[in-house]
């Protein structure tokens, strides 16, 4: 399709796109200096993408994405200002820099402000192998989506409706530069196929979904398998039966377990710590999870969805453990939060980069037998997590287990506990590791939670 080719041509040569974007960033840094900033840092992105949705065998939406924008932080001594825009014309660049400088005239002194130390900038940039464009056009994407949906609808006659299958591809270049003279480009691709379905029986309709995502088209799960897995999961929600309110062991299925680990990482992140908005203040060296569990970061993983050579301060990322055998080994810090806490940055400005939950794993069937009677949580709803106190209470759906065997699905229930005893009470890790997210873990079995039904 000619339009697609035309619209993506500019970035087909990633080196050229990176060179252009680097030129823009250098120009912006130069402007900042000329406008009186004592230091500055710029983040600029240029991305294109295509997403195609098919629903009930018909093409539903075709979206072309094309985003170009930049943001600048300027420092006037220890005061700072930030400005951003989607307009990269010379006038807009000048005005945006001026806006950032203007803001910095009104903010207050903060000795923690400023660029990261120059010697922390990433010096060597490993080839992370993140750029694998997918030259799929609208017609091919629509055909894949239609086939995936057909496989889903054929899976079981109780699949009565579809919210559609989306095939999406994106490619982009990101440049970070600062007035230390560090200006580097990173480019990458991201492709996905997702399928969302509705099943029904006499009790009503239930919805579920499945997706695959990867840096390279070849790393995606087969699109027909995505449709069938979505169907299997949706059908598995039919036939819910009530359970009794009580205290039970709970097994978090992998995507839900990743969320649980995410709460812990948020609680040992710099921003929450220096604002005293965490239940894990002063937790370095303290046992916060079951011993035997290590949370290890692997930022340079080839083709990793969250791989990066440097963080959003330009600081080199490095492999390390945040939690080692259940004990906090490192906080999650960027330059600013580290200075606020009197510590060194861990190269995590902007977040974590590929986290593995490392533990002795067992087959899920074995975990279910250890559990005996309890709940497997496959879906969570709502925001009921208070990191200041660790109080956790969320809506849930899943499968009821009795004598180690799945009995029936359950929904419209809540699970509640405090994160501190909850995470210290992890008694088993599954070998069913989900590789799609930033936090990669298998199922996690916790000793006890209150289940309200």
């Amino acid at each position: 399709m000619s339009e697609v080719a035309e619209r993506t041509a500019r970035i087909d040569d990633p080196d050229q796109a990176a060179a252009e974007l680097k030129g823009l960033v250098e120009n912006i840094l130069d402007q900042a200096k000329r406008q009186g900033a004592t230091a500055a840092e710029v983040s600029a992105g240029d991305a294109t993408g295509l997403s195609v949705t098919v629903r009930k065998s018909e093409l539903e939406t075709v979206e072309f994405h094309k985003d170009r924008s930049f943001g600048i932080t300027v420092y006037a001594g220890t005061r700072k200002g930030h400005a951003s825009t989607s307009d990269v014309s010379p006038d807009a660049v000048r005005d945006t820099v001026r806006a950032a400088v203007h803001i910095a005239e009104y903010t207050e002194e903060d000795s923690c402000n400023g660029l990261a130390d120059a010697d922390l900038m990433a010096r060597t940039l490993p080839d992370l192998d993140l750029y694998h464009p997918w030259d799929i056009d609208v017609a091919d994407a629509a055909r894949q989506a239609e086939e995936a949906e057909a496989a889903a609808l054929a899976f079981d006659s109780r699949i009565v409706n579809s919210e559609g299958v989306e095939v999406a591809t994106g490619r982009g270049c990101h440049v970070y530069g600062n007035s230390h003279g560090f200006v580097e480009a990173a480019w990458g691709t991201r492709h996905s196929t997702s399928c969302s379905l509705i099943a029904a029986d006499a009790d009503g309709m239930k919805r579920d979904y499945w997706y695959t995502v990867g840096r390279a088209p070849g790393d995606l799960e087969d699109h027909l398998a995505v449709g069938r897995e979505a169907a299997r999961r949706t059908i598995a929600r039919l036939g819910c039966r009530p359970i009794e309110t009580g205290t039970y062991p709970v097994l978090f299925a992998p995507p839900m377990a990743a969320g649980l680990i995410g709460h812990l990482l948020a609680a040992i992140s710099g921003g929450a710590l220096y604002r005293k908005a965490s239940y894990l203040l002063d937790s370095i060296g303290r046992q916060v999870m079951a011993s035997g569990i290590t949370l290890a970061e692997d930022p340079h993983r080839p083709k990793g969805l969250h791989s990066a050579a440097y963080d959003s301060d330009g600081v080199a990322t490095r492999a390390k453990a945040f939690v080692e055998n259940g004990v906090v080994a490192s906080y999650v810090l960027g330059t600013y939060s580290a200075r606020r806490l009197g510590l060194a940055t861990t190269g995590n400005a902007g977040g974590i980069f590929n986290l593995d939950v490392v533990a002795d794993t067992r087959p899920v069937a074995k975990l279910l037998h250890e559990m005996g009677t309890g709940l497997v949580v496959t879906s969570l709803m709502g925001q009921g997590v208070n990191l200041v106190t660790g109080d956790y209470s969320r809506g849930a759906a899943g499968v009821w287990i009795a004598d180690g065997e799945p009995r029936h699905p359950v929904d419209e229930i809540t699970i509640a506990a405090n994160l501190a005893p909850l995470l210290e009470g992890i008694v088993g890790c599954g070998d069913d590791i989900d590789r799609r997210g930033n936090i990669q873990t298998g199922s996690l079995l916790v000793e006890e939670m209150t289940v309200a039904a």
Partner: protein, 482 residues
């Protein structure tokens, strides 16, 4: 400031600077419909935002941003093609139009009606929140409120205060002849405090805002009131006991707990889900879906409210739509696309997060009308249960109808009387069932303070909610005390 025509303002801000005029726009719409396209639309936008944040006693960060662009949409039957350009220039627009129309491969050209401007009464003033106060005044305000919050109680340990100001200029031109503009102010103030006593720490929030400039923060005691509210909530939670677990009666306070309506029925009544048959409310028009006490309305016309719209993001005037009347399902929230496919009219509920996002049917200000009971009567009618007055947010699965909302300030009810405060707990229920279980409505109807954000398909838009005090006979409370 003299009131100006938003269309003139928008043309100046969006077209004149790029030397675009109505003839260019008409030609682009013609290009969009050169194939078998039913509707084509250009959405021009200039969005400016400014924010300031105080923490640790000082205003340490401020940010300013400008986003400008055009979203181009082409619709053929149930198919939508969408592209956007981040510069308002003719070549980029032509390119986006070609991409958007590529959903239709051939066929006769569609028609383009002559552009005609509509007149709509404005629901908010033509104000620019960013320019309405000086930078020094905004910074001084944050510092004053920080000091004020700390002065209220010695247990207040951390205070974060922020102000976010937005100004949006939108212009829609479409092949159905729509030529419409809206200039929208939006301001929001927030304060979060952490109180500490005997080693226990708890957080409290306060805040408010709406479609007006920053004047309310300077001309009234509103900011001090938000600070008092945040400190009160944090101190209260220091004494909170474990929340009960299980199914029980729950009394909700007025105003913000209206997030119940937003989740339990609001999303489920958006037209897209009903056209596709994926909502628990699909095909139930005219049926009893709530107790007879309940009349639920979505109203974009309330003056100055956070969710109000003079015209929506397709250029349709904002309206008041009755969704449920005396318990009977009476209406869905429509945009043009879904209304056309369902053979009805748009209700002015088309909203988009920006020019780079497709519009969808969305809520504006959604609320439940008042009843006749006093809040005291409602409380006294419950022997053992929960009274919840503030919430942190909610979520719904529109297909099963199940929804949650998480209480951040709640109390036990013991023998018809208010008991001790309880720790935060999530409530879960099924929308239609919970609505049928509403057995008492208060005479104390309120809207929220103006801080709500609604997310759908990754797009966030500002919304309002409201309700009187009400009693739900039975809903599941997710505490830890089984």
């Amino acid at each position: 400031m003299t009131p100006s025509d938003p269309l003139d303002t928008a043309r100046q801000a969006l077209w004149d600077v790029s030397e675009i005029d109505e003839r260019h726009v008409a030609r682009l719409l013609g290009r969009l419909t050169a194939r078998d396209i039913d509707t084509g639309e250009l959405f021009f936008q200039l969005a400016r935002h400014e924010s300031w944040a105080l923490e640790d006693g000082a205003v340490k960060s401020g940010a300013f941003g400008v986003d400008r662009g055009v979203g181009v949409r082409a619709i053929s039957g149930e198919k939508t093609g969408f592209a956007y350009a981040d510069d308002i220039a003719l070549p980029a627009l032509a390119n986006a139009a070609d991409a958007a129309r590529s959903i239709a491969r051939s066929g006769a050209a569609g028609s383009v009606r002559a552009l005609a401007r509509g007149q709509v009464p404005a629901r908010y003033a033509d104000a620019d929140p960013i320019a309405s106060a000086s930078e020094s005044d905004k910074v001084a305000l944050l510092r004053r409120i920080d000091a004020f919050a700390r002065s209220l109680d010695s247990h207040v340990k951390e205070v974060s205060v922020s102000i976010a100001l937005n100004h949006e200029t939108n212009l829609v031109a479409a092949t159905d002849g729509t030529l419409s503009a809206d200039v929208r102010p939006l301001a929001r103030f927030g304060i979060s405090v952490i109180a500490e006593r005997n080693g226990r720490r708890e957080r409290g929030f306060g805040g408010g805002g709406g479609r007006f400039d920053a004047g309310w923060l300077f001309d009234t005691d509103a900011a001090e009131d938000y600070a008092r509210e945040a400190v009160r909530a944090a101190l209260l939670n220091l004494d909170a006991v474990d929340a009960p677990a299980g199914t029980m009666p729950v009394v909700l306070g007025p105003g913000w707990p209206g997030v119940l309506l937003h989740e339990a029925v609001g999303h489920g009544l958006e037209a897209d889900f009903n056209r596709k048959g994926t909502s628990a409310f699909a095909g139930r028009m005219g049926q009893q879906v709530a107790s007879e006490l309940c009349t639920v309305v979505d109203d974009a016309t309330l003056p100055d409210r956070r969710g109000s719209l003079t015209v929506d993001d397709e250029g349709t005037p904002g309206q008041r739509t009755v969704l449920i009347e005396n318990g009977i399902l009476a209406g869905y929230m429509q945009d043009k696309h879904n209304a056309r496919l369902m053979d009805t009219a748009s209700t002015g509920n088309a909203r988009r997060a920006s020019y780079a996002h497709l519009p969808m049917p969305r809520m504006t200000n959604t609320f439940l009308l008042a009843g006749e009971s006093t809040p005291e009567e409602i409380l006294a009618s419950v022997d053992q249960g929960v009274y919840a007055v503030s919430f942190g947010g909610g979520q719904v699965d529109i297909t099963s109808g199940q929804f949650v909302f998480s209480a951040t300030e709640a109390y036990r009810i013991d023998g018809g009387k208010l008991g001790p405060p309880i720790r935060g707990a999530t409530l879960i229920g099924n929308g239609p069932e919970v609505m049928r279980n509403i057995s008492m409505l208060g005479n104390d109807w309120q809207l929220d303070q103006g801080v709500g954000v609604c997310g759908k398909d990754g797009q966030s838009v500002p919304v309002g909610v409201g309700q009187p005090s009400l009693k739900i006979d039975e809903i599941t409370v997710g505490g830890t005390r089984a």
